[in-house]
Amino acid sequence: MSTKIAVLSGKGGTGKTTIAVNLAYILSKEISVQLLDADVEEPNSHLYFNFKDEMREEKVSLMIPKVDPEKCTKCGLCGQECQFGAINVYDSGVLVFKNLCHGCGVCSLVCPENAIQDVPKELGVLRFNKVENELSFGEGILNVGEISGVKVISKLKQNYDSSDVIIIDSPPGSSCPVVETLRGIDHALVVTEDSAFGLHDMETVITILREMGISYSIVINKYRDDSKNDKHTHIFEKKYSNSIALKIPLDKKIANLHSKGQLFVKEFPKISDQFRDLFNKIIREKRHV
């Protein structure tokens, strides 16, 4: 069975995508890898690859209510029970606010006249492709104007293939989309940066991982030698030294390659080796568990 690794961070811009795309590429030289981009509000992983074919697309929809005015008696029950203010009954008829609807189905559940039907509304799209034989790719894209990507993430995750390892590029933050991404994951790589902000947001994410019982290791990105005496460095070392698996230096060349949409590991063999070691360690620990 595939090993599922989520790459996440809390804080945005620490290098989740950098780590996810480079790790996926380097591992695919030896084993089969599927890279899934679950940062559906701002998916970026696709920018780092040249794809073999056209993207295969699949729409993601939410089932929202459609009211049959012939059957509706305007009793108002649907509006009373909707928790999201998404359906409102007026003398002139029933109004559905599509953007507020969570697609829960309560309105049709309570309608005594059977006047409410579920109809699909497009939320976003999934796209799939192959980079190389051993590296497959998938991403979820939330349509602009939609408020929640949770459904797109859960649909994306129904598309695991039979690769040896599945790497998921997670959304930033620590709210429900992150939890959705983490369900059923074997191990989390927490990418943080060498700053007080990075530390603060990493700690929030680690709270979730502990609560969900998911093992994790920490990658400190943009590591600087001159931060040795900083307060946040002391906390990293004191509280998390056992979990810190890798430190990637702040390097203008890495930043520049990444800014152009290139995979930096191709030019940093030492970091490639460190990625392989990190993965082997995760596998050993998974067997151990």
Partner: protein
């Protein structure tokens, strides 16, 4: 005089929203500061607030199954569209509160009235004093939804205080992304600054964010952070803006002193001899001109 709300947003995370918002908070006078990145709030680290009041944010509900009343019929599980209800080994059902969206379907179908519908407490928000002005920030509990609602609450509190205390501005550090927290940071503001960086991802996310801002018809301008990290991409952004008639408010040079400021948890603009601090000063000047137009 109407209070002007100014949002600093980005789409992509880590482009330097908080760095810029933290410094603008120092430069503005007569303002309230609001940190709307409630998932990963960082402004308090640099502004060092003295918290005067903590308020509970209560919103939405979660279902909880009372095991002693549950007969294991499974009707709740059948209607739940979020896979939030699972069967336990003893044959009774339970709710995964992370997955529950509080829609009430299970409560409505349970024949034994075994499902309680409990008011949720997704986080808290704080009213503080800082050296640079009053400050509102929040903490969403890890894994919670309703972050958009909490953002709205922070905004409401900040605006109320601004009106009560006759403040001219609310400076908003926005949430990343294009979803609910990001749009809640943006709706109804008077001006937005979109911070981007010269990378393929920075540009991609900037373009998506522009669609959102245009949808709300909010006047906005661009700041390119670390612009010299990739000059070609910066030029690409500038050309894009020129073509679309969008003003570039400023460009901030990659300056290692920014890391030092962030490490020492201080606003960048307080640095001496810093190119980034100078750039932010000039952004502030241009911003004031834009706002008086």
């Amino acid at each position: 005089m109407k209070t002007k709300q100014i949002a600093i947003i980005s789409g992509k995370g880590g482009t330097g929203k908080t760095t810029l918002a933290g410094s603008l908070s120092v430069l503005f006078n007569n303002h309230i500061i609001a940190d709307c990145d409630v998932d990963s709030s960082n402004m308090h680290l640099i502004l060092k607030p003295k918290i005067n009041e903590t308020k509970q944010y209560k919103a939405g509900h979660k279902a909880e199954i009372n095991e002693s009343k549950c007969v294991g019929c499974g009707k709740c599980q059948q209607v739940c569209r979020y896979n939030a209800i699972y069967k336990k080994e003893n044959g009774k059902y339970s709710v995964d509160s992370f997955a529950c969206e509080g829609c009430k379907a299970c409560v409505l179908v349970c024949p034994k009235k075994a499902v309680d519908f409990v008011l949720n407490h997704p986080g808290d928000y704080f009213i503080s004093e800082t050296k640079y002005g009053p400050f509102i920030h929040a903490e969403l509990k890890p894994g919670e939804e309703m972050s958009g609602g909490l953002v709205a609450q922070v905004r409401k509190q900040a605006l109320k205080m601004a009106v009560d205390e006759r403040k001219a501005f609310v400076i908003i550090d926005g949430a990343p992304g294009i979803g609910c927290p990001a749009t809640s940071s943006l709706t109804g503001t008077d001006y937005a600054i979109l911070v981007t960086e010269p990378t393929v991802s920075g540009i991609h996310d900037m373009e998506r964010m522009m669609e959102v801002i245009k949808h709300f018809k909010i006047p906005f301008s661009i700041v390119i952070n670390r612009y010299d990290m990739n000059i070609e991409k910066s030029v690409e952004i500038e050309e894009f803006c020129q073509k679309d008639n969008i003003s570039v408010l400023g460009k901030i040079v990659f300056d290692e002193k920014v890391n030092i400021a962030n490490s020492n948890e201080m606003p960048v603009v307080k640095l001496h001899d810093s190119k980034a601090a100078e750039a932010i000063q000039s952004i502030f000047k241009k911003l004031k001109d834009e706002l008086t137009l």
